[in-house]
Amino acid sequence: MLIVISMVTFGIFFVVPQWAGSTPEALASRYVGRAATPETVHLVAERLGFNDPIVVQYGRFLKGIFVGAEYDYGAGVEQCPAPCLGYSFISGQPVWPDLLDRMPVTFSLAIGAALLWVVFGVSVGVLSALRRGSFFDRLSMGTALAGVSLPIFFTGMVSLVVFSYGLGWTPPGGAWTDLTENPAQWAYNLLLPWITLAFLFAATYARLTRAGMLETMGEDYIRTARAKGLREREVVVKHGLRAALTPILTLFGIDFGLLIGGAILTETTYTLPGLGQFAILAIRNQDLPQVMGVVLFAAGFVVVASFVVDLLYAVVDPRVRLS
């Protein structure tokens, strides 16, 4: 799967431009100065291997990721240690360390929000299902509908205006402190992004949990559990929720994997220096190596996350286990 992603990414960023009429020289021109002569450009294209067959180029691309690469600009050889995703057009810095720098921000945002939305989404969903048709059910499902429909840049802006600039309870956008530096400040700064992001997801999870619980609570094994004399709370949690959680787990794996690759809207709204913001900047600057790096990185997380979900599935549902 990861191989496929590397091929697709490579294809998009190296092969498609050539189909679209881009010549090796045009590609190479991005790596040299503005005032370069055609001869220089040609030389660089040659050195960077843009004239080689696609397969060879792909091999080199993979080798760069796993072993590292050497770039020969003519003016000297530059070492790019593995995983080498190339150099930024703009800053000339290698892409990988930049990505690593941004990771803690996105990780912090995703993990905190995930915790919030799973806890709130699932418990609201369970309570709504148990009190179906009640005031609580209607209120929470109405809120959930709002949560699903309102985009982050709206809820984010509104929350910033109200809580940061209006009431002054939370720091304004752009505040970021490393966890290792000051954990309290870290959590305080991230509180608003966490809640905003979690609101969006909690809504989906609440609706999904509610639907799942309504279904499982009507199953025969729930009746059996009650017939055994089990307390209602245990019937709900151990027998009902246990079965309803499986589809939620799948969704969670995918959502979380996607978020790790960059919560673009949230990070942009709150100007958090994470991977999402990095991706936006890279795209805006047409900084191909950076864009490619972040895409490869994000896609990798989605794959890893769905793999982990598959493993967890076997743990959760014994019927999936291979005998």
Partner: protein, 341 residues
């Protein structure tokens, strides 16, 4: 007073389409060591009755009235928590489809252990040993190994045995089996019925078997109660119901039962029509639209609900026809046909 006494039990469900009278004035009693078979078509209210005794309608939309006395305790008015404490321990249930009735994500052992530990404050190891014992007792080979299997890894018959083991885990004094063999192969059905009879003797529990299959009750029951449209229409000793039945519906049930000990000279005689909707139970005798003798009651069958009255032999029948008329019909028209079938 008997061990189990049900008096004028009514279980109604208000719905948007009207009131569903699933059980409408049911009275019966049962002693320890005895077996009662409740027979009827789908939708006659038999399963609703069993769930009602276990208190599984509580907290739901059901309106329950009447009395259920279990060993001197009244259950209808009791708190949900009090009835919960009795469930599993004093009264237990075996369900129809053991695959859907067992939780797919937990091992069979886990589910038995859970049932046992609800009512017994013992360690997991002790409960596990008990679970292995039980699985062995209900005839599951290699119980120490199978205790860690999941329900889907069992065959249908083995699952029903495991379900029985789970129901028996706390030595219940009242055991209700709701269509215990319907989902099973015919060969396995006989084994399960034998097992239930043996276990009942061993535990001296009261057993209610709910089924649409007269063969099952013939095998097990001391008493039989025939239900139709939420009401009891015939109730008495098993022998009376099988050999001296007096209700046309029971006649219909008997003649639609395949028998291997008779020659296949004629086709089965199914009861015409389908069971009544419990929202619009026909006025008068609920069976009258399907009853071949409805014209013999001077029109009373469609206006007046017949009483449950004793026959000459002492069992109860709900029918407008006179005793002698019913007996003559049985002796001259029904019995000969049944015997030649």
């Amino acid at each position: 007073m008997s061990f189990l006494d049900v008096k004028d039990l009514r279980i109604h469900f208000p719905t948007d389409d009207g009131l569903v009278r699933a059980v409408d004035g049911l009275t019966f009693s049962l002693e320890r060591g005895q077996t009662l078979g409740i027979v009827g078509e789908s939708g006659s209210g038999k399963s609703v009755t069993s769930l009602g005794i276990l208190g599984l309608h509580k907290g739901g939309r059901a309106k329950i009235s009447g009395e259920i006395w279990l060993d001197g305790e009244e259950l209808v008015g009791a708190s949900a928590e009090a009835v919960r404490g009795l469930r599993g321990k004093k009264m237990a249930m075996i369900f129809q489809d053991p695959l859907s009735s067992m939780h797919p994500y937990y091992t069979v052992g886990h589910q038995i252990i859970e049932a046992y530990r609800i009512h017994h404050d013992v360690s997991k190891q002790v409960a596990r040993k008990h679970a292995v014992d039980l699985l062995g007792r209900v005839g599951i080979p290699e119980p120490a190994k199978r205790v860690d299997s999941y329900p889907h890894e069992f065959s249908g018959g083995m699952r029903q045995r495991a379900m029985i083991a789970m129901a028996l885990s706390c030595d219940p004094e009242l055991l209700i089996a709701d269509e215990p063999t319907t989902a099973l192969d015919v060969t396995v059905q006989a084994q399960i019925l034998d097992l239930m009879r043996d276990l009942q003797r061993e535990f001296n529990s009261a057993l209610i078997v709910i089924t649409h299959d007269l063969g099952v009750v013939a095998e097990l029951s001391d008493d039989i109660l025939v239900m139709y449209g939420g009401k009891c229409i015939e109730y008495g000793k098993a022998d009376d119901i099988f050999y001296q039945p007096e209700h046309p519906y029971t006649w219909g049930l008997l003649s639609s039962m395949p028998r291997l000990d008779r020659e296949r000279t004629e086709r089965l005689l199914p009861i015409k029509g389908s069971p009544p909707s419990l929202i619009n139970v026909p006025p008068g005798c609920a069976f009258h639209p399907r009853c071949p003798y409805a014209d013999r009651t001077d029109g009373r069958s469609s206006t007046e609900v017949p009483d449950l009255a004793p026959t000459e032999r002492g069992h109860l029948v709900r029918c407008h026809m006179g005793r002698t008329e019913r007996r003559t019909l049985w002796e001259t028209e029904i019995k000969p046909v049944l015997e030649t079938q």
